[in-house]
Subunit: 181 residues, 2 copies
């Protein structure tokens, strides 16, 4: 599959089959993320893959209830991957400070998208989740309070994906997003 076809094919998935995901597939997703570029090669990332059914059930229940209920579909996913954003190298933090931005967030986007596109290539479906109870996640997984969890990836085999069968994604036109000089 060409890269552009992979990008076109990949859609968010909010309905999963209750089917186990082999770890060798997950390992290749992690490998794609591991190789991602980052500012000053900081590699500010750590992945906790939760595929133990009991821990996963507890995590899903606590992370996506109450105010975070809109993402409760994620409880259904057989795997939840908790992304921890680590500190960048000093040069990237200093440069980002001067330039007024946090490079670790850009790096997070790159690494997780590598993971997610490899998942698509493996026949797996996924969803980026940024809205969950971070405090509860840390408590269940015994993650120190000062570490940053921005994203959870839900992962598994799709029962259905968003806008299945639609040929086009809901995006701005090319004319709206670029010009030549």
């Amino acid at each position: 599959m060409s890269f552009l076809d992979l990008v076109k094919k990949r859609k968010s998935c909010r309905k999963y089959l209750p089917k186990e995901v082999p770890r060798d597939k997950i390992e290749r997703c992690l490998e794609a993320a591991r190789l991602a570029p980052s500012a000053c090669n900081s590699q500010p990332w750590y992945f906790i893959v939760v595929d133990n059914p009991e821990i996963k059930a507890q995590l899903g229940k606590e992370a996506f209830s109450g105010a975070y209920n809109m993402n409760s579909f994620a409880k259904e996913a057989p795997v939840l991957v908790v992304f921890i954003r680590e500190m960048s190298k000093y040069a990237a933090i200093a440069g980002g400070f001067i330039r007024g931005l946090q490079y670790s967030l850009v790096d997070e986007g790159i690494a997780i998208e590598h993971f997610i596109l490899q998942a698509e290539e493996e026949g797996l479906s996924s969803c980026w989740l940024g809205w969950f109870n971070e405090k509860s996640v840390k408590k269940i997984l015994k993650i120190p309070r000062k570490r940053k969890i921005d994203t959870i990836i839900s992962l598994g085999y799709a029962r259905d994906v968003d806008g299945q069968g639609e040929l086009q994604k809901n995006r701005k036109t090319i004319e709206q997003i670029r010009e030549y000089r």
Copy 2:
């Protein structure tokens, strides 16, 4: 080429050939970026592709001199793509505020990496540049002061890429970046 092979092959390029880049290749890079997912589907991005030799030369000279001289190699690239980070949708800004992060930066990482991986697939090489004179770039391209330019992508045919011939990228081991629960 499989996605993992594409990821392995792509390396930063700091030496370019003086060879024109066809616009149809650039258009497919932009198309890959256009289709990128983003928080609340905000699509907070705008690309100014500078391939006019005169404007490109002026941009390269002003953006990468003085304190920004470490990236002066970019003057050699036949194309410089200026990435403007736009505002996220209100829901993404509000959610990000509560969660303590800016989703537009994560979205930037995703969209630019889509561009860069498509470039690799097109036989083009590239480099992410975060260190340049933003003020000068805005002046030359007449971009309003309040818009945010975080990244410039240098693009072209490689005369050489970083660590050419090396089989492995300089990265943490898989054991350093993941665990299973």
